[in-house]
């Protein structure tokens, strides 16, 4: 990208979707002219051409001024990122205790993980696990220093892994923690196609974050859409001066990133996790995944039929997107978001972000307010957060702009165009059951709205996009809303869904009986879904 062109395409080529956004420079700033997303099999060229043709058709003068000619699209530059199917990492350790943190590190670094320990697998099963033709890399690790349960089996495990490394020179092998002491057992790295790398022990310290970064670097190629999106989120947070969380549910994986403005510090405030298991429908989805989707389903559907529909959703993610298919997709998206949250608990330890951005094809069929509700259903934490949707899938491509200043300039120009504000969600925690928890008064430019706060439900206040308001909460008892107290005044911003006051439990408690649970979820969802009955 350079500053010279008057227009460029931002292309995000995913596993299921190819998305093109046409960005033009007008009146001295970059603006989003339009975007189009279609099945990945269509390809970026056809999608870009149709987008350009639509731009010309809609406003020939503007398109001409921006230098857009559908017959000469190769003259229009583009920034392109791609999502890649996760590669498989076999994670092995001497004990089940040591295996957990290692497998967790690999799972949040973009790898599809199979794991086993000496404690659970005999050498034959362990060899089979490592020699599986689908495995692309091996992570063998131990604590540093190794625990008492690891010291004895560690050398034999190292001998087994070294033998596999000799047989499969294409595999990348990472030795972590005390396993690095076993490096002399391994074949000379010079004669191998795959590298043998050393990493820190898995855990929660600063060194462990180094292992996460090493695994992420190996998992995601330089042009990876999610890697770029993490940079895009960091730049966006810096530009808008707010703490931003980004959750993406995609065809191949899910991603969560949290970034805040640096406020003049040298240290960057950005953490990101890439979770293959948080794909909308992971390949070979098992009963656990099925149960979780069933738990969020608003359709009366049995396990067998739901399993069939998930299989179809996996094999043809763009098909059957309307009608009941949209319901299945949203249930799968909630379940995937739940898996993403479970895999990234340490990222959610801080306060609620100012802005939460939802992204990914999983949400594309739902109206904005329903996206806000679906995320709020799963991301349960006390606080007030504005929700937005990355509708044109821009954060990935824009995050790939190499020059930080240019990237910041483009993102600053596009900040108002690139996100659809879907609403503000205020979630107090610690409400006592009863008829009324207190009163809410919303002071907006158009007037004042008063509401009774009924625990266990959702309250909606109409607040259009672009409008701001002050929501004044007066609770009968002390609650948590960022801090503990009874009286709060919260600045809120409008969106397609307005202000959503979420008075349900934190964490959410839903009825065990499936029918009752489904009715409750359906009631909440239908209150926000215009045309839902159609």
């Amino acid at each position: 990208m350079t500053r010279d062109p008057r227009a460029f395409f931002a292309l995000d080529i995913g596993g299921a979707t190819v998305s093109a956004a046409l960005i033009i420079r007008i009146a001295g700033r970059w603006r989003l002219l339009g975007s189009l997303a279609l099945p990945a099999a269509v390809g970026p060229v056809a999608v870009s051409r149709h987008l350009a043709e639509r731009a010309v058709h809609a406003d020939p003068g503007l398109a001409s001024a921006a230098g857009i000619d559908p017959s000469q699209l190769d003259r229009v530059p583009s920034v392109t990122v791609r999502s890649h199917a996760p590669r498989r990492m076999a994670v092995v350790a001497a004990s089940q205790r040591a295996l957990g943190p290692l497998a967790g590190a690999a799972a949040r670094s973009g790898w599809s993980v199979t794991a086993g320990s000496v404690e659970a697998l005999d050498p034959l099963a362990m060899s089979q696990l490592l020699l599986d033709p689908g495995v692309d890399a091996i992570l063998a690790g131990a604590g540093d220093p190794p625990g008492a349960d690891e010291r004895s089996p560690l050398p034999e495990l190292a001998a087994l892994v070294a033998a596999v490394a000799e047989r499969r020179p294409d595999l990348t092998v990472i030795l972590a923690g005390a396993m690095t002491d076993e490096l002399p057992r391994f074949p000379d790295a010079a004669g191998r196609e795959g590298e043998i790398l050393l990493g820190a022990a898995a855990g929660s310290g600063t060194d462990a974050r180094g292992l996460d970064e090493l695994l992420t670097d190996l998992a995601l190629p330089p042009d990876d859409a999610r890697r770029a999106a993490a940079i895009g989120v960091e730049t966006f947070a810096e530009v808008v001066g707010r703490r931003v969380e980004y959750v993406e549910i995609g065809y191949d994986a899910g991603m969560r990133a949290i970034a805040g403005p640096s406020l003049g510090r040298d240290e960057r405030d950005r953490r990101a996790a890439f979770v293959a298991d948080a794909a909308l429908v992971p390949p070979g989805a098992d009963d656990l995944i099925l149960d979780r989707v069933l738990g969020w389903s608003t359709l009366p559907i049995d396990r067998h039929r739901l399993r069939d529909r998930l299989r179809e959703l996996r094999s043809a993610p763009w098909a059957d997107a309307g009608g009941d298919g949209a319901m299945v997709r949203l249930a799968a998206a909630r379940a995937a978001l739940g898996r993403l949250m479970d895999a990234t608990l340490e990222l959610g330890a801080g306060p609620a972000p100012d802005l939460l951005i939802a992204a990914g094809g999983a949400w594309s069929v739902a109206p904005g307010p329903v996206i806000a509700l679906a995320v709020a259903d799963v991301v349960r934490r006390a606080g007030a957060t504005q929700y937005a949707f990355d509708h044109a899938r821009l954060l990935g491509p824009l995050g790939s702009i190499a020059d930080p200043d240019e990237r910041a300039e483009v993102i600053a120009d596009l900040a108002d165009d690139m996100l659809v504000p879907v609403g503000s969600v205020v979630t107090p925690a610690g409400l006592r059951a009863g008829r009324s928890a207190g009163r809410l008064v919303v002071h907006a430019g158009t007037g004042v709205t008063e509401l009774d706060l009924v625990p266990g439900g959702l309250e909606l206040v109409d607040l259009p996009p672009g409008q701001t308001a002050v929501a004044e909460f007066r609770f009968r008892d002390t609650v948590r809303l960022g801090t503990r107290g009874r009286h709060f005044a919260v600045d809120v911003a409008g969106g397609l869904g307005g202000l959503l006051v979420d008075l349900r439990d934190v964490p959410m408690r839903l009825p065990d009986r499936h029918e009752r649970r489904r009715e409750l979820l359906e009631a909440w969802q239908s209150s926000l879904w215009t045309g839902h009955e159609g």
Partner: protein, 349 residues
């Protein structure tokens, strides 16, 4: 892999390039056969194999053995160990044949097995890669119809049509006269029919959709047979489209009709039907033919009319849409629901 590219018969109508293209045929496909530690590899990379050539022996009950090998053998992990007949060392003589896994404290851990099952080449080709305990990659010389999934297999037999594209084969429709065939059974099939077909010597089944329940029941049935140490005859299920019921796509039907009476093979990785087509003349699908891939109208086929832009569908969902002329008249369909067929059958690269 080479996918047959380009349009079907005639130029592509305007807007049709926004419909996902489904490759009808592919060639130069590497087929993979997974091996487990202990399995005996019988071919090397670069070997030309014909149909029925033994590729490997798979062992059903592999166990771990441990023993010291005679010094000076220079054994490496993955090597095959067989006790030499003239050794006088009892420890070595008693050590079973198997695959060397790794050396630990001067002794080798060896994967050794019983109840060998042959893995024969279901197709002719060239072995591109042969890794003991890992896999064999075979470059097929024939052409390949790719599908959604394949269960069991590999298997090979004479292709026969047992039901129409939208039909269904029931257990009563099977008899021993169908032994040795690969049956095209239409839109769906149940586990009972599959189990019975296998018992009658049918070599495979080609079906448009296989529901998850039937898939699980069939896999469970096969697992029970294996647990009982019955040697299973070669049998495979080739699923063309997915889990839901829908008719087989008409271009695929034309292809399968042209293959009737010929030998075909079903392989698992990638899930595919492989055939040798040296003298096969296949009709081209019309360039404007589109098919509803999924959803309530799955399997319907029609002719492309054109793009209509964003339209509102069930539950108020707005989707890019197109107008398609079906047999009962034109209708608006989301583009994401549609597929078109690529390639010129018979002239694939």
């Amino acid at each position: 892999m080479t996918i047959a590219a380009g349009a079907a018969s005639g130029p592509l109508p305007a807007g049709l390039d926004l419909v996902a293209e489904r490759p009808l045929l592919a060639s130069a496909v590497d087929l993979r056969f997974t091996l487990a530690p202990g399995d005996r590899l019988l071919v090397d990379a670069g070997t030309d194999v014909s149909v029925g050539t033994p590729l490997a022996e798979r062992f059903r009950d592999t166990v771990l053995a441990e023993g010291r090998l005679p010094p000076g053998l220079g054994s490496r992990p993955g090597d095959r160990w067989a006790p030499p007949p003239d050794t006088g060392r009892r420890a070595t003589r008693n050590l079973a044949e198997g695959e060397l896994l790794f050396e630990w404290r001067d002794a080798w851990r060896i994967a050794t097995g019983e109840h060998a099952e042959p893995l024969d080449a279901p197709i002719a080709g060239i072995v591109r890669r042969a890794r003991p305990g890992v896999d064999i990659a075979l470059r097929a010389t024939g052409r390949v119809l790719l599908g959604d999934a394949a269960l069991g297999g590999p298997s090979r037999g004479r292709l026969e049509l047992a039901a129409g594209p939208g039909g269904e084969l029931r257990p009563g429709g099977l008899d021993v006269g169908l032994a040795g065939t690969v049956l095209v059974v239409g839109s769906r099939v149940d586990a009972e029919t599959l189990t019975r077909a296998r018992a009658m010597g049918v070599r495979g089944v080609v079906v448009a959709g296989l529901p998850s329940k039937e898939r699980r029941d069939y896999i469970a049935s096969e697992a029970r047979q294996r647990a009982a140490l019955h040697r299973l005859p070669p049998f495979a299920v080739f699923v063309l489209d997915g889990a839901l019921r829908r008719p087989i796509a008409s271009p695929v039907v034309r292809l399968l009709e042209a293959l009737v009476g010929r030998e075909v093979a079903i392989v698992n990785d990638p899930p595919a039907l492989v055939f040798d087509d040296a003298d096969l003349d296949l009709p081209l699908p019309p360039a404007d033919l589109v098919r509803v891939r999924s959803g309530p109208d799955a399997g319907r086929e029609g002719r492309w009319i054109g793009l209509v832009g964003l339209r509102r569908f069930g539950r108020g969902v707005q989707l890019e849409a197109a107008e398609v002329r079906f047999a009962d008249g034109p209708a608006i369909v989301p583009i994401g629901d549609l597929e078109r067929f690529a390639g010129r059958p018979g002239t694939a690269q």
